[in-house]
């Protein structure tokens, strides 16, 4: 049957068809839908969210030790978090086939950087598979498992946003079961004490050379004949852009691009006067060519390093023209905290109290936008707490009264817990605010260890932030109703005033998760409205000014009494549910 699947759905389908038994992940755009779709095959494939990518990686590696085909998926920066197990897993090698999916984000549609994770394959000395559409995702995933099992190595499988999220036709197949290998204790290859690791390194080098020989003739690397005068080398999504930009050219399309098939590439390049190397972001392939002394190539000198490519950019880069067309300036339409978002009260209060925050990654990062403007720093998952403590150590304890750490619940579970222990251990006065909407909202509402439900839909234990704080030594830890403006203000004041570490858990469900609780829109009694503008400082998309500067509420956006933060901040009580006004 021919169906349309996104690249992420095709990975999930591939898990099913190629006999995968265990799949793990921590969510992250553009990779999230992989596991969200794997769970549809839960009778055949066990799947789970882990608290972060490092743990997800280690669980997957353990499953591979256990003798089954296993997959771990993450966004590009997730592999930074999992880099420690990655770098060593490569020498121990898999038993059950082990595939690591990295979904990179050229153009940074929803990421903090544009890192090209193909370098991780080279760094970790493992094979790199790069599909170019959803059918190849499905097919190449099977080959990736064969490579993994034949050579005893994890395989890095690289998607990018336009592969993960583009839907293209796929021919579905059946599931093939893969027999589980029996677990045999093998300390010489699974316990990496230096004596073993030295021998394992030699093994890895030999293995790489063997896989390179395999790559020279692998069907994943193929030539598409065209104009005998124009040669192009490309891989992944860049290949598709290059095909459209240079439809007549002859292509060397690399699907297994590391270990680099240098002889194949050399022979290809010998056929042409000039070969274009088309790559998004980094000149990964080009570097191998140049290292091999192949110089009749044009790559980075013309193809831009920053941002996503498309066929027009590739064509223009080569021709030197600019056919982008003129843009007409239009006001930006940036994403904002939704109407009814529980995070709003924290940032409004910080703003009013003139307290800054080191913050973190999630919906709440939108608290940086005017009028809330409550964020001083945002670097990577979990950085908020360490950043706050570090500022306090540099500037002094008093500074902790003016700077708090704000972190989401999922981010706290991901990598905030160790930061909190650090604050207690090193006697910080830091106030840590967990904005707890009880879900991973930013990436589309995934459960985590603090929500009480697993990916497979079972109810489970729920991390207790208060008990956790107490057990690491934070004596003052409390829950606050995020929709109670007065309570939020009192809690933040008290927490910042004292000289001790404090944990505040601002509780309130993500408004998008509880549509059933939305009520009729609030209305402004404009006769009594004094146009003081306080409610506008909430930055709620539902509230705007009328001609007289008075507040009006858009009934299509307002979620009603469920939130009512604006009604609470109004000094003259002129915002209310319709029948009360």
């Amino acid at each position: 049957m021919r169906v349309l699947l996104s690249g992420n759905e095709a990975v999930a389908r591939g898990c099913y068809e190629h006999g995968v038994k265990v799949a793990t992940a921590y969510p992250g755009t553009p990779s999230t839908e992989i596991l969200e779709n794997v769970v549809k095959y839960k009778d055949d494939v066990y799947s789970q969210w882990s608290p972060n990518e490092k743990v997800a990686f280690e669980v997957a590696m353990g499953a591979s030790f256990g003798g089954v085909r296993t997959l771990v998926a993450m966004k590009h920066v997730g592999l930074n978090v999992a880099a420690d197990p990655l770098m060593t897993s490569t020498s121990v090698g898999g038993d059950g086939g082990f595939v690591i999916v990295t979904a990179d984000d050229p153009g940074m549609h929803s990421s903090q950087n544009e890192q090209d994770n193909r370098y991780y394959a080279k760094f970790a000395k493992i094979p790199l598979v790069e599909p170019s559409d959803s059918q190849e995702v499905l097919d190449f995933l099977g080959t990736a498992y064969e490579i993994s099992e034949q050579f005893g190595t994890p395989v890095l499988f690289r998607l990018t946003t336009r592969l993960s999220h583009a839907k293209t036709p796929v021919e579905l197949g059946e599931r093939t079961e893969v027999a589980q290998k029996e677990y045999v204790k093998d300390t010489s290859s699974r316990v990496v004490i230096p004596a073993h690791a030295r021998r394992l390194h030699v093994k890895v080098e030999k293995r790489l050379e063997a896989i390179r020989e395999y790559a020279e003739t692998s069907p994943l690397n193929r030539v598409i004949e065209g104009d005998p005068k124009v040669g192009v080398i490309s891989s992944g999504i860049s290949y598709q852009y290059a095909r459209d930009a240079l439809p007549e050219a002859t292509f060397l399309k690399l699907g297994l691009s590391y270990p680099f098939p240098v002889e194949l590439a050399r022979k290809f390049c010998e056929r042409f006067e000039t070969v274009y190397v088309v790559e998004e972001n980094e000149p990964f392939i080009e570097e191998f060519l140049r290292y091999a002394g192949i110089t009749n190539i044009i790559g980075r000198e013309k193809i831009p390093a920053c941002g996503e490519l498309n066929q027009r950019i590739v064509r223009d880069s080569i021709s030197g023209e600019d056919t982008a067309g003129e843009k007409t300036p239009v006001p930006p339409r940036p994403p904002v905290l939704c109407p009814g978002c529980p995070h709003r009260s924290t940032f409004y209060t910080l703003n009013r109290l003139k307290i800054g925050s080191t913050s973190d990654i999630g919906c709440y990062t939108l608290g940086v936008m005017p009028p809330l403007e409550g964020i001083d720093t945002c670097i990577c998952m979990g950085a908020s707490i360490g950043n706050s403590l570090g500022m306090e150590k540099a500037i002094g304890k008093e500074f902790a009264k003016k700077m708090v750490a704000v972190i989401g619940d999922s981010t706290f579970v991901h990598s905030g817990m160790t930061g909190l222990a650090d604050v207690a251990y090193n006697k910080g006065a830091t106030t840590v605010i967990v904005v707890d909407n009880s879900i991973t909202a930013m990436t589309g509402h995934q459960d985590h260890a603090g929500t009480g439900t697993t990916l497979m839909g079972e109810s489970t234990t729920k991390l207790d932030y208060i008990k956790l704080a107490e057990s690491v030594g934070v004596k003052d830890a409390r829950r606050v109703n995020a929709f109670d403006m007065e309570a939020v203000k009192t809690a933040i004041k008290e927490a910042t005033d004292n000289d001790e570490a404090t944990l505040l858990v601002m509780e309130g469900p993500c408004a998008l998760q509880v549509r059933g609780q939305w009520g009729p829109a609030l209305v402004v009694d404009s006769e009594n409205c004094t146009a003081c503008g306080l409610c506008l400082r909430l930055g709620c998309p539902a509230i705007s000014k009328d001609e007289d500067g008075k507040a009006t509420i858009n009934p299509l956006f307002c979620v009603g009494e469920f939130c009512s933060m604006c009604a609470q901040v109004c000094p003259v009580d002129c915002i209310a549910v319709p029948d009360k006004s």
């Binding site: 349309l4 583009a166 598709q240 852009y241 498309n310 027009r312 067309g325 005017p370 589309g444 000014k545």
Partner: protein
């Protein structure tokens, strides 16, 4: 028709049902046995940001995205959004705009003269009041299917093929409203 690619660029504001419309278009093309690629970026769609979906179909499709100057049709579910992406329309291409105005959060009023600026860039522009037609069909949320109906008029599929795809995608209870929305949108541009 050999090697001809049709590029439909759909844009609007998160929450307007853009992805459903492009899903239905893709279903119709797939059912015809065509090669088809559809691309959009997930993540921000629900948070009031600008949303686009690229749909390309034909004999053989390579890139999943439409580049600047390539779109045969740009269908914008919101007025200002048409102008934001106007450079994607190919010379001689067509623009269909829902004249609905959604003020971006943080702005107090809607910028003026958007209609004129769009028509200056692309003479073949049609404005329709999709919100009004959606209301007429039975639900404000049917704006997306009104717009689908409007741009469907300029594509080579039959009315039946469209309706079959709509029925398969929308919730059962809303089939009637959506079919009416489709017809109203189609009629609005064929007059």
């Amino acid at each position: 028709m050999a090697n001809k690619t049709t590029d439909v660029f759909i844009c609007g504001v998160g929450g307007q049902g853009i992805l459903l419309a492009s899903e239905i278009l893709s279903d119709v093309a797939l059912a015809k046995g065509l090669d088809i690629k559809k691309s959009e970026v997930h993540g921000m769609a629900q948070r009031g940001g600008s949303v686009v979906s690229h749909v390309r179909f034909g004999e053989a499709i390579h890139s999943p995205v439409i580049a600047e100057g390539e779109a045969d049709i740009l269908a914008s579910f919101e007025k200002m959004e048409a102008l934001r992406w106007i450079q994607f329309v190919k010379p001689g291409g067509k623009v269909i705009v829902n004249s609905q105005e959604i003020v971006p959060s943080g702005m107090e009023t809607y910028p003026p003269a958007i209609d004129r600026k769009i028509s200056e860039r692309v003479p073949d522009t049609m404005f329709i009041d999709a919100l009004k037609l959606a209301k007429e069909a039975g639900h404000l949320r049917a704006v997306n299917i009104v717009m689908l109906g409007a741009f469907s008029h300029f594509l080579e599929f039959t009315e039946d093929e469209w309706k079959t795809a709509i029925k398969a995608r929308v919730p059962k209870k809303t089939i009637e409203i959506n079919l009416r929305a489709f017809e109203l949108g189609r009629a609005a541009v064929s007059g």
